[in-house]
Symmetry: C2
């Protein structure tokens, strides 16, 4: 099976290198790879953050393993040339509408969290975020008001089919976990959210075994601090999901540990760590590769039908952590390659 | 001076009653009051959550002291009749564009926070949230797509004048505090945010003594968990401010402690606790009145020019807490009226 390998910017290259070693050890030549530039690296070499060659490789691959994009050199470029457009472009072009972000407290690491250990340790939730719609992809621009003043605008919207397909992912994943789904919106203010809530309620008739609740986004942001252990699956739109999933990851402790999957309707997917390109430590061999290694495990499970191999990788990561392997973000001194080796030894 | 007293729904009445006793003790007959119905209570009595009589009283008052709105009986009403419309209507009609939400760790209460005590204890920030624009007040509605499907939409926008007036509040309050301003947006995705960022940068030339930084909203939600002590003043739009200010309050511990002010261009304001109407404990005499009492102190300071009286109230609250006064939300057994008396005794 063919993997598109897109390291991107900053620490992306370093974390992908270690992940590739783990995949080689576990899957050998059952996987083949095509590597391509993306993000700031692609802009600098080829004038666009998502060059057609890269998109073509991503299209023909069975799954995409992605490092990170983001490069301070590119911050003043016009929006469509900035590194972030690569990830937004891949999501849109490939129809990757379902973003799954599990957040689970590793018991060895509860002391890394800013939350009290007993609260951080109880976290075991999955955020299901819609990725192809909302205010991210509506019409947007700058215009002049009647008074001649500059005005920025962005249209937020969802239609019922967009809501239904992500809500189904929420119900299905809840059914496969602890059977609880919390839908997050701002229906007391937004019509987009009112439609969201209506459609989720309509669909719930098909999932009588799933316990559905609704929460306003401001309350959800509070509850994720107060008592994140109350959540099983959280389903929400693109913008609220962006905010809440980053918040939830930080509740676990280091964001160097958390993987994500972005899936299309046929479970083809893009897999990436939730952390960014970390330009401040790029090239220094200090980055934690575990989030990317765990993303590769998700890839084996969700897109490649290799669940046993995914289990092996996840068990090896847990054992490495239990054995005391710690990169700098976890309060240790291990380098990126040493953490990769610690995982390899446990396979 | 005339105060419009709007208790609203649920625990609103109970917390306003105690606050009134404190104000009577401190200000005596220098303040006069007109009381009016608002929210679900107003809908039930008069058919509208913000009746014209109530709005008229709010207009002619020098300041408004507000309890809380929200009533489960009203959840299925059409949007414009729901209790929340009362607070949105007051903000819009009175031009209350600047919402100030201080969040500060009370050292006696660091153990109430879900964050580690040393992290919670370091919180001392002020969120300045824009209240009259953004996706809250743009055109919104339900329509059909070309394919005949239901679609909800809401237009997000800001013009440069709207951004500038709230940004000035951010710079001015930062100058009066520790001199640091963090502007939160999502400029990597939203044009509304790009304009926001451009205008904030333009204005910063007038405030060379304020240290300005910019943060994406997803990162801000992470940083408020990881290290909230890094923030002094945070300025942001209506939607992001809704989410982040509730999150920040919860980081402090109980939301039963946190006051807020919503000011117009002339420092006339509406003052309210950040908590809601708490229908589950309404009428039981269990609610914590401190957030409302502290809101009244903000009212004396910002709208009524009575800073010494505000100081007296805040000192009395701190002493009551130091003396061990605790309502149920703080792990204690005191009733609403007993907490009111604990503050009165310290005046
Ligand atoms: C880089 C940015 C456009 C992106 C987003 O907002 O979706 C990122 O924050 C994420 O969550 O993957
Ligand atoms: C009640 C609701 C409309 C309101 C808001 O979203 O502004 C509330 O959450 C607040 O923050 O005051």
């Amino acid at each position: 099976m063919l993997i598109a390998l897109l390291p991107g910017d900053g620490i992306g290259l370093e974390v992908i290198t270690e992940t590739r070693r783990v995949l080689d050890a576990v899957c050998g030549d059952r996987l083949t790879y095509e590597e391509a530039l993306v993000g700031g690296a692609a802009y600098k070499a080829m004038g666009h953050p998502l060059p057609p060659e890269t998109l073509a490789i991503a299209r023909r691959a069975d799954a995409i393993l992605f490092g990170a994009v983001g490069d301070p050199d590119c911050d003043s470029l016009e929006r469509k040339l900035r590194p972030e457009q690569a990830i937004l472009g891949l999501r849109a072009e490939l129809g990757l509408f379902a973003n799954l972000r599990p957040a689970k407290g590793f018991k060895e690491l509860v002391n890394e969290s800013a939350l009290r250990p007993e609260i951080a340790g109880a976290i075991d939730l999955l955020i299901v975020r819609e990725l192809n719609g909302d205010v991210y992809f509506g019409e947007k621009g700058m215009r002049k008001t009647d008074a001649g003043r500059r005005q920025g605008y962005d249209i937020m919207s969802y239609d019922e089919d967009e809501v239904a397909r992500i809500a189904r992912v929420g119900f299905e994943t809840a059914r496969a976990r602890r059977g609880k789904l919390c839908s997050v919106d701002k229906a007391n203010v937004l019509e987009t959210s009112q439609l969201w809530r209506d459609v989720v309620i309509e669909l719930s008739a098909d999932y009588p075994d799933v316990e559905l609740s609704h929460m306003y986004v401001d309350n959800a942001a509070m509850q994720l601090v107060r008592n994140p252990g109350q959540f099983d699956v959280v389903v929400t739109g693109n913008l609220f999901g962006d905010i809440l999933s980053d918040q939830a990851s930080m509740c676990v402790g280091s964001i160097g540990l958390l993987p994500s999957a972005s899936l299309d309707a046929n479970a083809k997917g893009l897999y990436e760590p939730i952390h960014g390109s970390a330009p401040d430590i790029a090239g220094q061999g200090k980055a934690n590769p575990l989030a990317t290694i765990l993303s590769a495990a998700m890839m084996l499970r969700y897109s490649l039908g290799m669940a046993a191999e995914a289990d092996r990788i996840e068990a090896a990561v847990a054992k490495a952590l239990a054995g005391g392997a710690r990169t700098a973000d976890l309060g240790g001194t291990m380098r990126t390659a040493e953490m990769g080796e610690a995982v390899l030894r446990q396979l």
